[in-house]
Amino acid sequence: MGMSRKLTVVVVEQNRDRAIAIVDALKDSGEVDVFVIGAVSGLARKIATHSPDIVLIDIDNPSRDMLEELTIASGPMERPVAMFVSGAAGGLAKAAVEAGVSAYVVDGLQAERIKPVIDIAIARFHVLRQVRTELAETRRALEERKVIDRAKGLLMKAKGIQEDEAYAMLRKTAMNQNRRVADVAEALVTASGLLS
């Protein structure tokens, strides 16, 4: 007990790979017991059974509001949990929000015990967020490429022109209308779908 007791951390994360990445990073610090909760049904109750010191959840997780119930201690045996924002640690909380992780910390826990865990979580969520953004960007770029290719095909067929001419036409229209090439291509594909 006392200062030597390991901290119990609950990570709420449905994606298995992301959960493993976070757990591994936290375990490397050697200071914590980590539990992962994947399913969202009965979330607050499941968290309470672990009696955690810290709960970590992705800021974009819609189930996060279920955790806000933990901030109101409804019974004498329950430990109120506060979102980690107050006092000197305020900068840390801002960094956490920016990294995309929200941390709920049991009331009264010393800042120096929390900081290493939150620091690791912030670093890990930063990496995960980058990966996710890159993935989304790649997917979007691929989708746009497909639409532009279809629009080029439509123009080539309708006007009997070459691929580079078709692309030049899309670009010129986009420039004139102050729109993105992908948006012009999408409008063309939609319109041609309606007309065919």
């Binding site: 969202v40 049904s41 009965g42 607050a44 800021i59 974009d60 997780n61 819609p62 189930s63 996060r64 509001d65 279920m66 955790l67 806000e68 119930e69 901030t71 109101i72 506060a82 979102m83 924002v85 107050s86 801002k94 929000v97 920016e98 929200s102």
Partner: protein, 389 residues
Amino acid sequence: MRTVSLPVAYMPLVDAAPLIAAREMGFDHAEGVSLDLRPAPSWSSLRDMLAFGHVDAAHLLSPVPIAMALGLGGIATPFSAVSVLSLNGNVIGVGQDLEKRLRASGYAFDFQDANAAGAALARVANGPLVFGVPFPFSMHVELLRYWVAGTELASTQVEIRTVPPPLMAQALAAGEIDAFCVGEPWGSVSVDDQVGALLLPGRAIWTCAPEKVLAVRTEWAETEPHLLGGLMRAIWRAARWLSRPESRTTASEMLSRASYLNVSSELIDRALSGEFTISSRGEQRHVDGFVEFFDGAASFPWRSQAKWIAHQLARRNGLDPTQAEYQAAKVFRSDLYRRELQSSGVELPGASEKLEGAIPDATAVASASGSLILPPNVFFDRRIFEPSE
């Protein structure tokens, strides 16, 4: 005219309409601001986006800034509610199991009488009733608690759990909750998914419940008065536009877009028209003023509304009600509303407080031009809330 881009967070709900219409109809540009609307994944994230300065304004549950001012719920950044975005707009619904038992008991689902609905539900409840709500600090919780306490449900064990609205239908189907109180379109979604039936509109409990507010950081309101004024006027114009019957179809289409609510416009139109389908049997019910954005000074942030909310929160959380009302009154900024809107021909009430629940019929009240009519303001139990001094 040069416009200043203003990041504003919202939850994809029907009552985000004033923000969405301000942007889509160009009322924002007319006031020199350009709304950069950002959907939030949850109410807690939305609150944090505002508290940490990722956005400058937000569509927020009216009890949230008051709970924060009372030291409840963790975050302490001072917020100001500069206007009320909407009155009412929630529905209470039950799962199939309760629906069956209610029908067997002869209940007719009138979607109107809160006393009768409470009595009927109390009769068929066997064991504790679990209600899902979107957030622990919300008008949903306040209306539910007020209704339960004032009906025969008072002797039934009621538990309230937070369930994100998009997961409400699923939680009902899985039996994790028995019933819910949620903002549209999520009640109608549960009907269309054939997992729930609608019992009451929120306004059957209180006809003038301040549902969502336009919230800003108090410090931002002080440093950016011109942006604040532009934002408030743009949203006031959007609310006026929404109040015209001929705007309704356009508004439903606008909100239904994938970038906003991403549900069918027909579903959104139910809330805007008050024409509800309340069960999977297709029963139709009409509600006047299901959600109100404009009429009767709907957007005026009455200090007495803040005090009512604070009074309920204080009593449940062991705080001194009088002190809580005093703190809460400073959160609803009728002063800023007057300052920013008085020059725009907005009908401003003479007082900033009123007895809540004391207007049985529409009543003309003192205002700058003398032509302001306040709509009926009554609680289902006809009690009157007198704010403390």
